[in-house]
Subunit: 295 residues, 2 copies
């Protein structure tokens, strides 16, 4: 019988837990609303205690501490989410499963890793994954590994140059006109003054939305220089955005550096809501292989 | 006797060539103006033919081709510099020295590597190096190695959010108000309408200059999340800029993510004009060690 592994996609709205065989085939999965942290963690621990898992990967909403040299490693940091600020997530898991190898990263990173290994990023070494929903999150893959510096990427807060004649000041409480402040789902609704669901597919506001997403692509191109930029999240499900993003990207980059052909470079995610848990299980599987190899 | 290594800092104005012992101690160095490319390469080859060098590192002005899978690898690409566009620099060196191990990267990257190993970046794993002079160049170090994706970093072209009331439209022919367009030495002089040498140290324009350099630091913080941001180049020699950059950075980042203490985070380069050749020799030395280890 194949070995078992576990994955957690710990989102701000819900947790997705899964146990799989080492090849990624899911045996069972469970969803838990992201309520009181103590209760959630108790449920998480009970769930995984039922299975002889040999490794676990956690992708958590953040910001989280990712540098093992710092005190906040393994914690959720300054979230406004009630009870979760400074919550020592990884410590509690490690206490419950003392010898289990655990991968600790962000929820966006596990989704990025899912897209790399089984989604729109298959075959590339370097990619940027942006999820545009209520907020804007980002995960970077460099040489087929998750990129992590002093912090994980927070590309939702790249500062934006306003589009000509755009008077909207953005809705990020920290930065005003950053990417999230100008182009998240919440920003879009604040800009138009009603639900985005009421928008027609040819509404002019999609061009404005595309302008900021394209600007983020320019900044990514001159910084990380990925082989692919993948958009996931609810706003990205508006397929009419993609031709507009590519057009605005080409205009804003002004042919300054080479990229792969733009229709292969700026693309929609393939795994949808499964990207996170799929990526977490892939990371858990690789962690297990590393452990076995190290023995 | 110790083995010999070679380094080339191929800048847009001049080439610096050096031969050193494997520990980096320079035996001889030479400068050549960046004139006609065929003549320059002939001089470069003659210089190194005099010594039994065992490895060579080249840091070239760019943009250059850095992806070994692409045809333009080893070339200088679309430079306006007469005769140098599409110049196959690396091929000519490899033809003259068929079995020599060669490192090929940008001039800014070798300077970044010099600062990492012997300058302001000693002891860190991840850093961003920005050189602010006539233009703005950047090198990224990740986990003590040069970061290279589909292209090398071109962070001089990060798109900038204008400072309140700043009417200057930037002087980048591609992007207008990108970092280089707003904050390079040429942009500064265009903004003030005369030589920057005439500016007093307390001129108000330094605050504007600092605003854009600080904004680049914010974008670097939310993207690469380095442990240190190091400024080199002529404009950065204006020491009064540093308190202003740090102040504006703190204001623009708005405490959104943790960074190292700002006076240790945003710092001046230490090696000055030597950073490039020192970094090239360090890379050549490591290349040699890799070769020896691989035997």
């Amino acid at each position: 019988m194949s070995l078992m592994i576990g994955g957690i996609e710990a989102g701000g709205t819900k947790f997705v837990l899964a146990v799989a065989e080492n090849d990624g085939k899911i045996i069972t999965r469970k969803k838990i609303p992201t309520g009181d942290p103590e209760a959630v963690i108790t449920d998480v621990i009970s769930f995984f205690k039922q299975f002889p898992i040999q490794s676990l990967a956690i992708g958590s909403f953040g910001p989280i501490g990712v540098d093992p040299r710092r005190d906040d490693y393994g914690s959720i940091k300054n979230t406004p989410k009630k009870g979760w600020a400074n919550f020592r997530f990884l410590d509690l898991i490690k206490k419950a499963f003392p010898n289990l190898p655990v991968v600790w990263t962000t929820d966006v990173n596990v989704a990025a890793y899912g897209e790399l290994t089984l989604g729109a990023g298959r075959g590339v070494n370097d990619l940027a994954y942006l999820t545009v929903g209520t907020g804007v999150g980002a995960g970077i893959i460099y040489q087929q590994k998750l990129y992590t510096g002093y912090n994980h990427a927070e590309l939702g807060h790249l500062l934006m140059q306003p589009r000509a004649k755009d008077q909207f000041l953005g809705n990020c409480p920290y930065h005003g006109r950053c990417l999230e402040g100008m182009a998240s789902g919440l920003a879009l609704e604040k800009r138009i003054g009603h639900s985005a669901k009421l928008l027609e597919k040819d509404d002019a506001v999609w061009r404005t939305e595309a302008f900021y997403l394209a600007q983020a692509c320019v900044d990514l191109t001159v910084s990380f220089a990925p082989e692919k930029i993948i958009f996931g999240g609810g706003v990205s499900n508006q397929e009419q955005l993609f031709p507009l993003i590519r057009e605005s990207f080409t205009e804003q980059l002004a042919n300054y550096v080479d990229t792969p052909p733009v229709d292969q470079y700026i693309v929609h995610a393939l795994l949808g809501d499964d990207a996170g848990i799929v990526g977490a299980l892939k990371l858990a599987s690789e962690k297990l292989t590393d452990q076995v190899t190290a023995l």
